[in-house]
Symmetry: C2
Subunit: 241 residues, 2 copies
């Protein structure tokens, strides 16, 4: 089989300048917890989720659109006065169905912004893993999996998810770069029990201290949703298939 | 045991700004082939190896010091008119004993330059693995393993070597960051047959095309040397133990 398409992994947003993103369909990955919550919210009927970089931008949206919900988090905690933060449990149908949510997060939004010139941008998490992969296979494009990471550095959970995507796509004639090979190898080590595998990470310890272990378990559920959030203009909406 | 020292991995020079290098002893890693050749050259009695960033700087040294040997390589090949490039086979005792070599390489020199404010900078390769680790244990300092990578991106061979260093140090009470955990896990996957493991990488394929498979095999020999090259001013010399 000719390896005519690329399947690559950008391990942190700080490396994205090394890729010509215009040549790729990009998947943004921020497992704990932004992209997991986005997948869950879109699945649950949120009309749109607008990712922004700064808390101040959230507030500006609220002034224009009082009906918008505001979600903001800094260092893992809800910003005071906002409707909610990044916990996926805030994105139930009861809360978000038919609503627009303005979201700012520490890492995920930055990854989105830096990828904005891509052919298309989709949102990935363990929740929509197989639906996402099935769609990616149909695009016939180069694919770049962009890990949001932690403070611009590599983290294990986002990389492991990239490896899970590669696991489903690698038989389809893609050319893998070294980060993709490594991500897929790490997934082989962790796939039997992802939660257990990730327990050793620094991030896991930090999130535990924030008292959001239930969030972590939720974000590691595989294939509980099928919606694929994609960027349309400045907002994330459900991809029409 | 209190985890009071850090053992971390900077996966590419493009991420080094994320670390306060002044807090660390840094190990520079450029397995194919710069740091392997440096270890071999210092072991074989080279008086000093001077790393520089540009071919032009090499030539400037030669004007002042006609007895210096010049080593330069761009995209894996010896620069025309230079004494030799990065092949470890150029660094035999016969050629380098008692000599000073001015070396420029694509990735390794950049990693060195970007780490220049570290407490101390040492050079690592599979050749001097155990000698290096034994010395690192005695420093009682935070350790940062800096992978030179490939064109500022992650590569498997440098990361695997970082994982090999971590394998020898991790029982000594260091706190590992996520890149260090990943590097050590990748080493677990590759350690039985490192050469075979690396065959799938893009870099391996590229080096093969350059006809330097013997170099690759040489650079994967473990513990064939004991010298630890360290940066002293602007030159690499043998650490006096």
């Amino acid at each position: 089989m000719a390896l005519d398409k690329k399947l690559e992994v950008c391990l942190t947003p700080a490396l994205i300048h090394l890729y010509d993103v215009e040549q790729y369909v990009v998947v943004i990955i921020d497992i704990f917890r932004a992209t997991s919550s986005i997948c869950y919210g879109i699945e649950n009927g949120a009309e749109a989720i607008i990712p922004v970089a700064e808390v101040e931008e959230c507030l500006a949206y609220k002034e224009k659109h009082p009906d918008y919900l505001l979600a903001a988090e800094r260092n893992g905690e809800v910003v005071k006065g906002f409707d909610f933060g990044n916990s996926p449990f805030s994105y139930t149908a009861e809360k978000v169905s038919g609503k627009t949510v303005v979201l700012t997060t520490t890492n995920g939004t930055q990854a989105l912004y830096l990828s904005r010139k891509a052919k298309q941008i989709a949102i990935g998490s363990f929740l929509n893993l197989t639906a996402l992969c099935n769609w990616l296979k149909t695009t016939n494009e180069n694919i770049l999996l962009v890990c949001a990471g932690w403070k611009y550095n590599f983290n294990l959970e986002d990389t492991l998810f990239a490896g899970a995507v590669i696991e489903q796509l690698k038989g389809d004639g893609y050319r893998l770069d070294d980060p993709a090979l490594a991500a897929n190898d790490l997934f082989q080590l962790g796939k039997q029990d992802i939660k257990q595998y990730l327990k050793k990470t620094s991030h896991s310890e930090r999130l535990k201290q924030l008292g959001i272990e239930e969030d972590i378990a939720f974000c590691l559920n595989i294939d509980t949703t099928t919606a694929i959030p994609v960027l349309d203009g400045n907002q994330l909406i459900k991809l029409a298939l």
